[in-house]
Amino acid sequence: MISKNYLNIVLSLIVIYFSSMLNLFALEVTLTQGSVKPTPVAVTDFYSNKDEVLKIGKNISQVISDNLERSGLFSPLNKKSFIQDISSLSNQPRFEDWKIIKAQHLISGNVTKSENRIAVEFRLYDVFAQKQLLGKRFETSENNWRRVSHIISDIIFERITGEGGYFDTRVVYVAETGTKENRQKRLAIMDQDQANHKFLTDGSYLVLTPRFSPNSQKITYMSYVNTKAPRVFIFDIETGKQEIVGDFPGMTFAPRFSPDGKKIIMSYSDPEIGNSEIYILDLETRSKKRITNSTAIDVSASFSPDAKKIVFNSDRTGRRHLYVADSNGKNIKRISREGGSYYTPVWSPRGDMIAFTKQEGGQFYIGVMDTDGSNERMIAKAYHVEGPTWAPNGRYLMYFKEERTAEDGSGGDSNLYSIDLTGYNERKIITPLGGSDPAWSPLMH
């Protein structure tokens, strides 16, 4: 179970602006331009005159540096090349020292500690313009140092790229072990940088397709905890309590929260109908409303961020395609246009795109398209890739990749990957076991 401490990080933060963001520069980096050359940055250890606190400062710096590096947009410089020491830097940067090593940006900071609380202060400089872009100070309990590091990373990322941050987020996924015919699956949660990994279920029953609530406090997923009746559940991360979402006769699956968190859109196979249709369940009244009505499979529904539209997967024309409809099920329109089979559409949190899984010619792809189906492009390809989930800034995706299985049972491993929208910078997410069905949380702050 997740510690209360970690969850309730309503960071009682005192935020002080050292310098307001007066100069809004033109964006130094944009994510939409194909391949981007990473910007060299100097991320220095956060300074303290006490050795014990200096260690915290080093850790904070490392988390920020790793975040920026993983984004693919920044190339943190080797600390050994730094000329100015952090003690003197804490007074005033000597920009020439940072220019020589070609750092475009300089990130410095310091940490002070009293009892169990720390104050973390950071500054971001534009080295060539020789000016401070921003600076902030946070006060929190010492064991929140990682959260603070992620929040600082987000502020820096936003300031330099003009895009939203995505570092102060978590990932829920399904941890996998064992052979394919009897694979054990457990819900697991971790920070986006794989720290603070925890298992949420014990693996004694199958769990599939977890997704966060908008406030990241709950997870909706499908569970075979009742071995004869797989159903959609809600898991409360803080209490560990699990609750069935409407105990109807027949299987419920493929759930996602509505943008306000008050509803769940899911598929339900009513035994009276004998086919999977999309329903919206009101979590307050527990009433369900049928959205689709066809003899075909309707599955994998996702709301648009304004909740006015849904996108879903259906084989109503024989092939598996993606359809957009009003959230009451009216005005259904097919949006996928090309060959192959389309699955698992997910609306971007920015509202501008839909990510999906595609199967064509014996391969699987992760792709994106505009919400009207135009500008389709593939960004990842393998024997099997599936289930994209968006980072909250709508510029990165996570998904899982499963290898082929040999007849002797070897292979078949499943792992999580992240990639940016350009299709560059694919990264394997290191997890203790195998992984599938990732879901990226909204920003925690």
């Binding site: 035994p271 599955v299 699955y343 599936e386 289930g387 049972g409």
Partner: protein, 168 residues
């Protein structure tokens, strides 16, 4: 090749069925001791198979039918086997069954859950059309979660696109 494959599966299932029979017999007799279970064995048929059991269904009827890619249609072979299952269910009127629907790995998790459910429903509806009471037949989908055969090839996939009738 397919036949050989099926045959080897059959052997494996049969062996494991035999291996579990004494335990099942002990359970049904309400006794946990090993000497009793040997005693109850003699009360079953010569093969050690309890009439109306899962083993009986597997050995004397067949517990599964196979489907084409992305299909839930019952072909002639499937219908023939299900006719035998329906007759078997009429013979064992106290038995209820769960129909499991399964898929191969070449689809997404969610779509395959829906497809597996359609396969199970197709089997259920066919059994009902043959006179089996609907109250005796329930369904469950495992999508692509529980393949019967390991391997990323056509042979494995065709074995995994299946329904399995299990005695409840």
């Amino acid at each position: 090749m397919l036949k050989k494959f099926l045959f080897s599966i059959f052997i494996i299932i049969f062996i494991s069925a035999c291996a579990t029979t004494p335990k099942d017999s002990a359970d049904s007799s309400g006794s946990g001791s090993s000497t009793d279970s040997i005693g109850t064995l003699t009360e079953t048929s010569g093969s050690g198979i309890i009439s109306g059991s899962q083993e009986d269904l597997i050995v004397n009827v067949g517990d599964r039918v196979f489907f084409g890619y992305d299909s839930f249609d019952l072909d002639a072979d499937a219908q023939e086997l299900l006719q035998d299952q329906a007759a078997w269910m009429k013979q064992h009127s106290d038995v209820s069954v769960i129909i499991e629907g399964h898929c191969d790995e070449r689809g997404t998790r969610e779509y395959n859950l829906a497809l597996g459910e359609k396969r199970a429903q197709a089997v259920k509806n066919y059994l009902i059309s043959l006179g089996v009471s609907s109250s005796r037949v329930s369904t469950i989908s495992y999508g692509k979660e529980r393949p019967a055969v390991i391997g990323s090839n056509d042979g494995a996939w065709s074995q995994n696109r299946r329904s399995v009738t299990t005695v409840n």
